[in-house]
């Protein structure tokens, strides 16, 4: 029943309906149901390839292609459709012009700001008056995980205390980046629970980011608006390593490693 009804609609219109339907469904699901709208920049690309896909699905057979082209062909060639043609030929450039105009119109919206959240680390960096080689730097306490689990538990617990005293105000007591100060910060504090953050990084990278903080970001990560403090001024080297143990332990992530 439904199928027969559908097949009576011209192919071009059907294709357009599919595209619009997908767009509306995606908007409804993400903006309405999930409360996390798809950003416009991404949606544009999504829809571009949806259109490409729909075009392919409708035109891979000869009949399909002809059916798709038929209304367009008719519009251009059929003398009876002349008034419609004239309107379309007027509307298309007008629509293009309107689109360009709205795109170029200056707006009050602040320009899109792009920060590289995981900038490439330098090969070495300086902290605590020493130079660290990021390629070989390792957490000095990581080895106790296997050698002396009891001591490791104690170290993690110490790290937890240090975290609660220093870090949770921004990064949250659940390590989800939603601490009491977080709503005031932009960029927002990192959510360590996210699989895309510390789970993707080695411990040495974390040490670098914690020890040198926002001001220690390389130029590539400009603008330097991160409010991360330079923790080497407040914490001891050992304390940072313990906090790192705690971050991985609490979230259940493992530091990135390639060996073994």
């Amino acid at each position: 029943m439904m199928g027969r009804l559908l097949s009576r609609i011209p192919a071009l219109l059907r294709a357009a309906l599919v595209v619009v339907g997908i767009y509306l469904a995606a908007t409804a699901i993400f903006s309405g149901l999930l409360g996390q709208p798809i950003p416009a920049s991404l949606m544009t690309m999504y829809m571009f390839f949806v259109i490409v896909g729909v075009f392919m699905a409708f035109t891979f057979t000869e009949e399909g292609a002809r059916a798709m082209a038929a209304p367009i062909r008719a519009l251009v060639e059929n003398p009876a459709l002349r008034p419609v043609r004239n309107i379309v030929f007027l509307l298309v450039p007008l629509a293009a012009g309107a689109f360009t105009y709205t795109k170029m119109l200056p707006s009050l919206e602040a320009p899109v700001e792009l920060r590289t959240i995981h900038p490439a680390p330098p090969s070495t960096f300086k902290a605590y008056g020493k130079r660290y080689d990021l390629l070989t730097l390792e957490n000095p306490f990581r080895k106790y995980e296997k050698e002396d689990p009891e001591r490791f538990r104690a170290l993690v617990a110490e790290g937890g205390k240090i975290y609660i005293r220093n870090c949770q105000f921004c990064h949250g007591d659940k390590l989800n980046g939603r601490g009491p100060f977080a709503p005031a910060l932009n960029p927002v504090p990192l959510n360590f629970q996210d699989v895309g953050t510390i789970a993707q990084l080695q411990e040495s990278y974390l040490f670098w980011r914690i020890a040198t903080g926002g001001p220690g970001l390389p130029e590539e990560a400009a603008p330097w608006i991160s409010s991360m403090p330079v923790w080497q001024n407040f914490l001891k080297e050992d304390e940072i390593w313990k906090v790192i143990l705690f971050l991985y332990d609490y979230t259940g992530h493992r530091p990135r490693a390639w060996e073994k």
Partner: protein, 273 residues
């Protein structure tokens, strides 16, 4: 031929789409310029070592911290000097010839009177003459390389870009510095040499030097006995001469000197009548 042109048009359109997407579809991030290369050609010294050397000189041989410290207020603090120097250059009271921060710092080290910070001039000169000695001469006697190291340290410590280049021959100076700082130093031959090396003249008027931070020692032997002089060197805050402030003189000369040298100096000072 029509086919050929439509294929060409298709090709150009496709390439145009890819290029357009790369230019406008994704954010254009300007990659950071390559980091400034650290000169490692001269000796094995990196800029970092050089700055560390400057710091050692600043706190040691150069005797700078005797006055440039937060306690005594004898001389301006230098923790912001890199940023302040640029303003000084534009100050109408500035009499020197430097054009940039590096030049200014160099000048202030060898011709301190080129610019005197308000309130820090020699008494009675209306801030036109600096009480600071020329660090390249006299008892401090820094070499050009050492001065460059100090400038590098000052720039680095005050958070501006280090523009100094490591001069050739910086390495030997660094070695010399390390040697004097280490154990097993040979004895000073005379009291004059000891006092020159220790930089007494930077603060005191003695042995041809014109220091003004501490009491005039040119006739000290006439006023004080040997026990007083010895105590004044070993424990500078035990007695403070009238008109001078405590905590100015380093309290560790007792550790730097051999007993024989201490006696030499005491003998020398006691003889100044």
């Amino acid at each position: 031929m029509r086919q050929f042109f439509s294929v060409v048009a298709f090709t150009l359109l496709t390439i145009g789409f890819f290029a357009g997407f790369s230019n406008f579809g994704i954010p254009q991030i300007e990659p950071a310029p390559p980091p400034k290369e650290e000169k490692i050609a001269l000796g094995a010294m990196t800029m970092e070592d050089f700055i560390a050397l400057g710091e050692r000189i600043f706190k040691g041989k150069g005797t700078c911290t005797l006055c440039h410290n937060p306690v005594g207020g004898r001389a301006p603090l230098l923790d912001q000097i890199g940023k302040v120097a640029a303003k000084r250059l534009a100050d109408p009271r500035y009499k020197g010839e430097a054009r940039d921060v590096e030049g200014y710092l160099h000048e202030s080290l060898v011709k301190p009177s080129a610019y005197v910070v308000k309130g820090f001039g020699k008494k009675g000169t209306g801030d036109t003459v600096s009480p600071m000695p020329d660090v390249s001469g006299g008892s401090i006697g820094l070499s050009e390389a050492e001065i460059a190291a100090v400038i590098a340290y000052l720039q680095s410590a005050s958070g501006v870009e280090v523009t100094v280049e490591i001069p050739a021959g910086a390495e030997p100076a660094a070695k010399a510095e390390k040697e004097t700082a280490g154990e097993g130093r040979p004895l000073y031959a005379s009291a004059e040499e000891a006092m020159r090396e220790l930089g007494c003249g930077a603060c005191h008027k003695v042995a041809g030097e014109q220091g003004e931070v501490g009491p005039d020692l040119t006739h000290i032997g006439a006023k004080r006995d040997r026990a007083y002089l010895r105590r004044a060197i070993l424990d500078p805050n035990a007695d403070i001469a009238e008109g001078f402030e405590p905590d100015q003189m380093p309290p560790d000369y007792g550790e730097q000197l051999y007993a024989k040298e201490l006696e030499m100096i005491v003998d020398y000072l006691a003889g100044l009548k």
